[in-house]
């Protein structure tokens, strides 16, 4: 089984989507470990299941490192042969030693006390020095710790330590109703409220065995594209800001603000929260308002895209900076624009939801894997979003926007293409309540890649590389 999983991980026809574990000790006497792949040729999900009692096989590939450490933290299962098994989410400074919260028999009434300090990697070559950054950063961004080892200006090694924002959402959701879960799902990663809640409701709808009305699907797709547009414009503005071009940054930030105001008029919330519900959506969209704002945005956006591509000061900073090579991206099962800029195309909309999107999402990828390639992928995404929204508004079907639901028990995967890449949720409902919910944000795959992307670049380029990846801490740390 181990070799089979290994071969799928290295295969070009399969995209690895995550490891999803559940505690089935009570019923079946084992923990179930599911390795989820997407077969790109047949466009189907492919799950490989392992049963484990105390241990499970360690597979030597970078993408699994965090997964295996997470499984140890959460369930106490030991990946046999893992060379450096350190706590990941439960910091040894703050949590007791044998605390594995996602086990059904976990004792939660414990004293939250640490037992040792976190062991960082031992790397100290002669003549090198370290720069430690975070967890609290200089800008208005989320917390995380970065340890640079440098000789002069170039970066020799970067070690990241995340999960400062670990709240325990997965455990918190257990015993809650799916409606309460939906509220939580909108707050997994704030800027991805729509994408995460869609992944969640899709899993619920699969369990309840309902097909939502076509009109609801279209409205959801438009909301998703509006969110993608907002995030991409935000990233675009930040790239301008981090190369020191504040004129461009302020102009694009203003476009993002227009979009958030559009959201507010459409749904009453600047992040489009509270509109998606199980079985459909709760509100129709004012398509004229969308058309009006998007018309203006598209014209303005093209101006600043031209400004970006024709400005030597910008390109000087972004070209060949922060390169991620194909091999690295593949080994880390990169997702979203990070993968697309490094010659791997995987888009949930184009592969798993072709019936809705048809040929609207093109197989766009670039080879260079540097900051400017990642920006260009975003340009493509922005233009695609404009196109998708326009097409969906024109072809909006008539009919209901929601279906009545009949609660059922069961388990299912739900997935959606967020702006950062594929989001997958695994959900199990027992007696009408959530009994296991595993959330996998694309950032969980993409964060470790940053450790490779910065190598050889100078420390001053780090903020720019970081922004070109713009990963979520909240969705990663959970």
């Amino acid at each position: 089984m181990k070799h089979y999983i290994e071969s799928l991980l290295h295969s070009d026809d399969h995209q690895f989507l995550g490891v999803f574990v559940s505690d089935d000790l009570e019923k079946e006497g084992v923990f179930k470990i599911r390795y989820l792949f997407c077969d790109i040729k047949s466009k189907k999900l492919n799950t490989v299941e392992l049963n484990a009692k105390d241990t499970f096989p360690h597979i030597d590939i970078p993408v699994l490192d965090w997964y295996e450490r997470e499984i140890y933290d959460m369930f106490g299962l030991i990946p046999e042969g893992h060379p450096n098994l350190r706590p990941l989410m439960l910091f040894p400074e703050n949590y007791p030693k044998d605390f594995h919260p996602l086990r059904k028999d976990a004792n939660m009434n414990i004293k939250y006390e640490g037992y040792k300090t976190y062991p960082y990697e031992d790397f100290d070559p002669e003549g090198s020095f370290k720069i430690l950054v975070g967890p609290i950063h200089a800008g208005i961004i989320e917390p995380g710790h970065f340890r640079f080892t440098l000789i002069g200006e170039p970066i020799l090694k970067l070690e990241i330590r995340h999960f400062y924002k670990h709240k325990g959402i997965e455990k918190l959701s257990e015993g809650k109703t799916p409606e309460e879960g939906l509220k939580l799902s909108e707050r997994i990663s704030g800027d991805h409220s729509v994408a995460h809640s869609l992944a969640f409701v899709k899993a619920v709808e699969k369990i309840y065995d309902i097909d939502i009305p076509p009109k609801a699907r279209y409205i959801r797709a438009i909301l998703l594209e509006l969110e993608r547009l907002m995030c991409n414009l935000n990233d675009f503005a930040f790239i301008f800001q981090d190369v020191g071009y504040s004129f461009g940054a302020q102009k694009v930030f203003a476009l993002k603000e227009l979009l958030m105001r559009l959201n507010e008029t459409l749904t009453g919330n600047r992040f489009n929260r509270n509109i998606i519900k199980i079985g459909g959506v709760s509100k129709e969209l004012d398509t004229n308002a969308i058309k009006e704002v998007l018309g203006l945005l598209e014209k303005e956006y093209l101006k600043y895209k031209k400004l970006f591509l024709n400005s030597s000061t910008v390109l000087e900073r972004t070209d060949t900076t922060g390169r991620i090579f194909y091999e690295t991206a593949k080994k880390h099962a990169a997702l979203g624009y990070v993968a697309k800029a490094s010659n791997i195309f995987f888009d949930t909309r184009a592969i798993l939801e072709k019936d809705l999107y048809g040929s609207l999402v093109k197989a766009f990828k670039l080879e260079k894997g540097d900051v400017s390639a990642r920006v260009k992928v975003r340009f493509n995404d922005i233009e695609e979003s404009f196109n998708i929204i326009k097409t969906f508004i024109e072809n909006m079907p008539l009919g209901d926007i929601a279906k009545n639901i009949e609660p059922k028990d069961g388990e299912a995967f739900g997935y959606e293409e967020g702006q950062r890449g594929n989001i997958t949720h695994f959900l199990r409902i027992e007696q009408g309540l959530i009994s296991r919910w595993k959330i996998r944000d694309p950032s969980f795959h993409n964060w470790p890649i940053i450790q490779k992307a910065v190598l050889g670049d100078i420390i001053a380029d780090f903020p720019l590389i970081n922004k070109s990846l713009n990963l979520s801490y909240a969705g990663n740390d959970l």
Binding site: E142, I188, G190, Q250
Partner: protein, 164 residues
């Protein structure tokens, strides 16, 4: 260059008044020291939010809200700051860094709680990974701005009202 100048003239000034804001979302526990009015330096500390509050705090600097016209500025270190803005339900892993940041802020320090989570944990109440908001770790903020996330206009108005 000429095009840029032309577009400036055509578009005019985009910066807006901060009304209307929602009075109910602003809770003032303590008044802010008067001498900080017109020059308030803020260090932001995210203690486990979902990132939506950070999105709105970033929006404060865009041309529509332009928080710097009120002399409010975000700075890079707690040692440069008069005030800390705190978001999120205070995770166990962020508790110590938060205390460090508070300790390193010179007196009189102002604490501004942003968002529903920051005061009592909000929707994340009961999760094992959180301490449960400022109330639960015995830190009393000067101002609380409610909302999930709060509107940028509410945030600016809330801070300014703290001086009244």
């Amino acid at each position: 260059m000429l095009n840029i100048l032309k577009s400036f003239l055509k578009e005019g000034i985009k910066t807006e008044d901060i009304t209307p804001y929602n009075e109910q979302n602003i809770v003032i526990y303590k008044k802010l020291p008067k001498h900080l009015k017109g020059s308030l330096n803020i260090r932001h500390v995210d203690c486990g939010s979902c990132n939506a509050c950070e999105y709105e705090l970033t929006a404060l600097s865009n041309v529509f809200y332009d928080i710097e016209r009120f002399g409010i500025k975000f700075v890079a270190s707690p040692k440069h700051a008069d005030a800390l803005t705190i978001t999120g339900p205070i995770t166990r892993n962020m508790y110590k860094p938060l205390l460090d940041a508070i300790q390193n802020t010179p007196n009189p320090k102002v604490i501004i709680a942003i968002g529903d989570c920051s005061i009592d944990g909000g929707l994340f109440k009961g999760a094992y990974g959180i301490m449960g908001g400022l109330k639960d770790i015995n830190i009393e903020p000067h101002i609380l701005i409610r909302g999930c996330p709060p509107h940028p206009r509410d945030i600016i108005s809330g801070i300014l009202k703290g001086f009244d």
